[in-house]
């Protein structure tokens, strides 16, 4: 076993440490300077720190944050594996711009395990080699005679000649290692923690109320705030209703009203006083210009007047000639509505902006990009701002968390006190960034049982408007205080066409992207025209971004073409598939589901089965889903009764964690397919509650009694890279369900959500 050279230096701290980092461009002197400046902490560019002292404690400084998907546990497994530790010997510091690396961007896109796992494994292995080297010196033996177990290194298999904890090996010295790409790592055949269904390390604290979320952060002298929202997306502040303002100011609890531009908030020492104040305050807003009426979206999204950029993304063969030569051709248009993250907890943040410094506690997916955006909002240098991630309600993408953080910071700046801002349910439902409505125009041609031509034309507003230093205008409070949103995305720079390319082998294949504007643009540019007028609701990243809608269109149209070719939908897919791993997940899902056998239906119902397949981002995890449905022939109500998923994401780190993610994909996928649609009128979103009620509209999500049975088969490939699974399989669901409804009833439903009314209208007379 090779040893790693350790550079070392004296340090004045009582106990030492061993850190491993990436891009350790700083010299030891540089690190010393950084450590002094940061109050004795070691360089931020470090990922792994082994503490000196009596015991063994390894700390991961992770830019990737725990969003409820279990990445903290999975990354802990990887480190524990390479360093021969028990899980409770690993601590996890996450998403703190003063303490964790800044190069990791967002925790998003199913990318944590596949992108951060391998370098973290190398860092852990580098640290391990460093510890072995220390032990070899201290015990006076070759490293080959050493053995590590549960955070101790000793001589021989059973440590008969003594052993030391990692902390004892380090003592009071400080060691800085650069992660070494050629360091020996464990063979996957020797894994004892990776690949096991380790329990989530963070859940016991949740189930016992021992650990809080960002909503439970309390600071000394902290005030509570609620925001009073404009009447609509394009409304402007005119003035306060004087009587209501006086009434607010008479509420006990030191209630004050703050305003900057169209941003209005009520602040009080007592949370309920702030809430009552916000309810009491009446603001006169100008009537904003109406957005494109919701009922016109299916045509308006295709209107050239609303499309600011178009072009081919894929052009293979000659689609037009192949269509002309096909014995049968087909065209169809699909539509999906605006949908929302619908986090169960309304967004919340705590901020303390004072003395030209800011500390902000947030459940953001990207502490560093948020810090950049905050520097613009607050007019402070980034170095004066600390963003600290604290877990919040599951987000599934860019929800209200960043906006709430920025609003809390703005209010704190205006009143000079620490602020806890709690969004209401109506704030979250009405103002979080949505996933956009999309239209897909499909054309295809078949000759015999072969698809000769395939064309997919995607029409979509933005799927990514995350805030950042260069995109601070994407923050809601920036917009409310007069800033324009960041430029509309350039062709190719967004995720409108995620999973729009299919992995089927088509000789003639064209993908056309059409980017739809959400606000008026300066002609010929992607820049917002001032004053900003929104024509569509604000949109950003939601689980799989464009992939959900694109896969709905692709997989529905595959079935339509199979029907045209008189082919079985599974056989038709396999016929156009040469990738063995793709074929395997489809065949396994079909076999498990009993493809070809009848699905039984009670009287008055029609039953059917459908398949959906995709390869996430066309080059990552493979997923196939078979859905079974019951359709009420009288009402059109669809019930998904069973979903089988076969999933291949290469090496599996934590099988139960992976199952949990797939279950979430299935349940959200069913919910979004059957129930979910944001509703708006004029320039304001009107679905502000969970359920429809007297005088209010709801954004319903799946209830427990609507959840299907879920059967999951995991394909584990230890020798292959580990791909992410957070959003790989959700896109299989809408197509599989639509195909099952067609199989059951002969009705082809081409728009979501498949409410009873929509399905009933599609049912054959």
């Amino acid at each position: 076993m090779s040893t790693t050279q350790i550079s070392r230096r004296r340090f004045l701290a009582a106990s030492g440490s061993l850190t491993v980092g990436f891009n350790l461009s700083v010299t030891l002197n540089g690190v010393a300077a950084a450590a002094t400046a940061a109050g004795g902490r070691l360089g931020v560019d470090s990922w792994i720190e082994v503490s000196g002292g009596d015991d063994t404690l390894v700390t991961i400084y992770a830019g990737k944050v725990e969003l409820g998907t279990g990445v903290r546990t999975a990354l802990t497994q990887i480190v524990a594996e390479e360093l021969a530790l028990a899980l409770d010997q690993v601590a996890y510091v996450q998403g703190d711009t003063d303490r964790t690396p800044g190069s990791q961007g967002y925790t998003a896109g199913s990318k944590t395990i596949q992108n951060e796992g391998p370098p973290l494994r190398l860092a852990a292995a580098t640290a391990f080699q460093g510890l072995l080297s220390l032990a070899a010196t201290q015990f006076g033996v070759a490293t080959s005679e050493l053995n590590a177990r549960r955070g101790r290194i000793g001589v021989g298999e059973h440590h008969r000649s003594g052993s030391r904890t990692y902390g004892q090996l380090i003592g009071s010295q400080n060691y800085q290692l650069a992660s070494n790409a050629s360091v020996p790592v464990k063979s996957s055949a020797d894994y004892s923690i990776v690949g096991k269904s380790v329990r989530r390390v963070d859940l016991p604290g949740r189930f016992t109320a021992k650990t809080g979320f960002v909503s439970e952060i309390k600071l000394p002298g902290m005030l509570h705030a609620r925001v009073v929202r404009p009447a609509g997306r394009n409304a402007s502040f005119i003035g306060f209703d004087a009587g209501s303002l006086a009434a607010v100011q008479s509420i006990p609890g030191g209630v004050q009203v703050v305003r900057q531009g169209n941003f209005v908030a009520v602040v009080a020492s007592d949370e309920y006083a702030a809430l009552v104040g916000a309810r009491t305050l009446r603001v006169n807003w100008s009537a904003g210009a109406a957005m494109i009426p919701q009922e016109l979206l299916p045509t308006a999204l295709q209107d050239p007047a609303n499309v600011y950029a178009s072009g081919n993304e894929i052009s293979v063969g000659n689609v037009d000639a192949a269509l002309a030569a096909s014995t049968a051709t087909l065209s169809a248009t699909y539509y999906t509505p605006f949908q929302m993250h619908a986090s169960l907890g309304a967004s919340c943040a705590v901020a303390d902006v004072s003395n030209q410094r800011a500390s902000v506690w947030s459940s953001t997916q990207g502490p560093y990009p948020l810090r950049g955006a905050l520097s613009v909002l607050l007019g402070l240098p980034e170095a004066s701002i600390r963003v600290i991630f604290v877990e919040g309600s599951g987000c599934y993408g860019h929800n209200g968390a960043d906006d709430a953080a920025a609003e809390a910071a703005l209010i704190s700046k205006l009143v000079g006190k620490p602020i806890r801002l709690q969004w209401t349910r109506a704030d979250e439902h009405g103002w979080e960034p949505l996933t956009p409505a999309m239209v897909h125009r499909m054309r295809g041609g078949v000759t015999g049982a072969s698809c000769m031509a395939w064309e997919h034309s995607v029409y979509s507003p933005s799927h990514n408007s995350r805030p950042s230093l260069g995109g601070a205008g994407n923050l809601l409070p920036m917009q409310h205080t007069g800033s324009a949103p960041a430029d509309a995305p350039a062709l190719g720079a967004n995720a409108q066409t995620r999973n729009a390319p299919v992995t089927y082998n088509f000789a003639n294949n064209r993908l056309i992207r059409n980017f739809v504007k959400s606000f008026n643009l300066v002609p010929g540019t992607r820049r917002a025209a001032l004053p900003v007028t929104w024509s569509l609701p604000r949109t950003s990243a939601l689980r799989s971004l464009g992939g959900f809608s694109n896969s709905f269109a692709n997989e529905s149209f595959m079935d339509e073409l199979a029907k045209k070719a008189n082919a079985d939908p599974l056989a038709f897919r396999l016929q156009h598939t040469t990738d063995a791993r793709a074929a395997e997940v489809m065949q396994a899902a079909a076999a498990k589901a009993g493809w070809g056998s009848a699905v039984s239906a009670p009287r008055g119902f029609a039953a059917g089965r459908g398949i959906g397949f995709l390869r996430y981002e066309t080059v990552e995890a493979y997923a196939a889903a078979v859905a079974e449905v019951l359709v009420n022939k009288k009402t059109g109500a669809v019930q998904v009764t069973r979903v089988v998923v076969v999933h291949d994401c290469g090496l599996i780190i934590n099988p139960d964690g992976l199952r949990s993610q797939i279950e979430g994909n299935v349940i959200q996928g069913v919910s979004r397919t059957l129930k979910e649609e944001v509703r708006y009128s004029g320039d304001r979103i009107t679905s502000l509650a969970w359920e429809d009620g007297p005088g209010e509209l709801g954004y319903p999500v799946l209830h427990f009694d609507e959840v299907p049975d879920i059967e999951i088969v995991l394909v584990n490939r230890p020798a292959e890279p580990a791909w992410g699974a957070g959003e790989a399989s959700i896109g299989c669901l809408p197509g599989a369900i639509a195909n099952a409804v067609f199989n059951a009833t002969g009705a082809r439903v081409r728009s979501l959500p498949m409410t009873p009314a929509v399905v009933k209208a599609a049912l054959p007379a």
Partner: protein, 204 residues
């Protein structure tokens, strides 16, 4: 006009008295801000999600909509914070309630923001039906959908942990029926095999 009052309750077995400036204030805010409870969460303010659930005199109550002035004096209020037996440990629960253990065993959460609502709703329901057979999965699903005997209102999960939550509640029902607050969990290990055939100890 706000009507000042005071909230006098027995919170997780301990008498508490708190002055409240406005009797219309929801119990939720008083529990969180004046009595330092971490379990009950702010979700919708309209009894549509369940994350704020606490028990008042044994009944599951959506505390976001329960005005302080409607809480009877001396009411027995239970929260997730007080569900585990505190025992003698340094801040570490001595014994977990069967529901908490079952949620761990079934890994019945993703973000866990809904967990308070799931556990506290199920607590009232299972305690009321202690003498009956373990509920079927259909019964649990109906209960959490706000339907059937003992149901309060819809209880939402957004992450998709539904089937695990149903299994956890069924598992807890079995343990509670045995009168088993702590049935002596044998598996304190971190790991278990994916087929769940038994505890797995990592070689580390």
């Amino acid at each position: 006009m706000p009507r000042p009052t005071s909230l006098n309750i027995v919170l997780n077995g301990v008498a508490k008295s708190v002055p409240v400036a406005d009797g219309s204030e929801p119990l939720l805010f008083v529990l969180r801000n004046k009595l330092d409870q971490v379990g009950p969460k702010i979700g919708c303010g309209a009894e549509q999600c369940g994350v704020c659930t606490v028990l008042v005199n044994g009944r599951a109550v959506r505390s976001c909509s329960a005005e302080v002035q409607s809480i009877p004096g001396g009411a027995d209020v239970r929260t997730l914070d007080g569900l585990a037996d505190k025992g003698h440990g340094q801040g570490r629960p001595k014994r977990l309630h069967a529901l908490q253990r079952a949620f761990i065993d079934e890994q019945a959460a993703q973000c866990a923001f809904c967990s308070n609502g799931m556990i506290m709703s199920a607590l009232a329901w299972l305690e009321a039906r202690r003498d009956r057979d373990e509920p079927s999965d259909e019964e649990v699903k109906r209960f959490l959908s706000g339907k059937g005997p003992g149901a309060v209102a819809v209880t939402l999960c957004r992450c998709g942990a539904h089937l695990r939550i149903v299994r956890a509640i069924q598992r807890a029902a079995r343990d509670m029926r045995r009168g088993d607050f702590d049935h002596g969990r044998s598996d304190d290990g971190d790991c278990y095999d994916d087929d769940r055939s038994g505890p797995f100890k990592g070689r580390s």
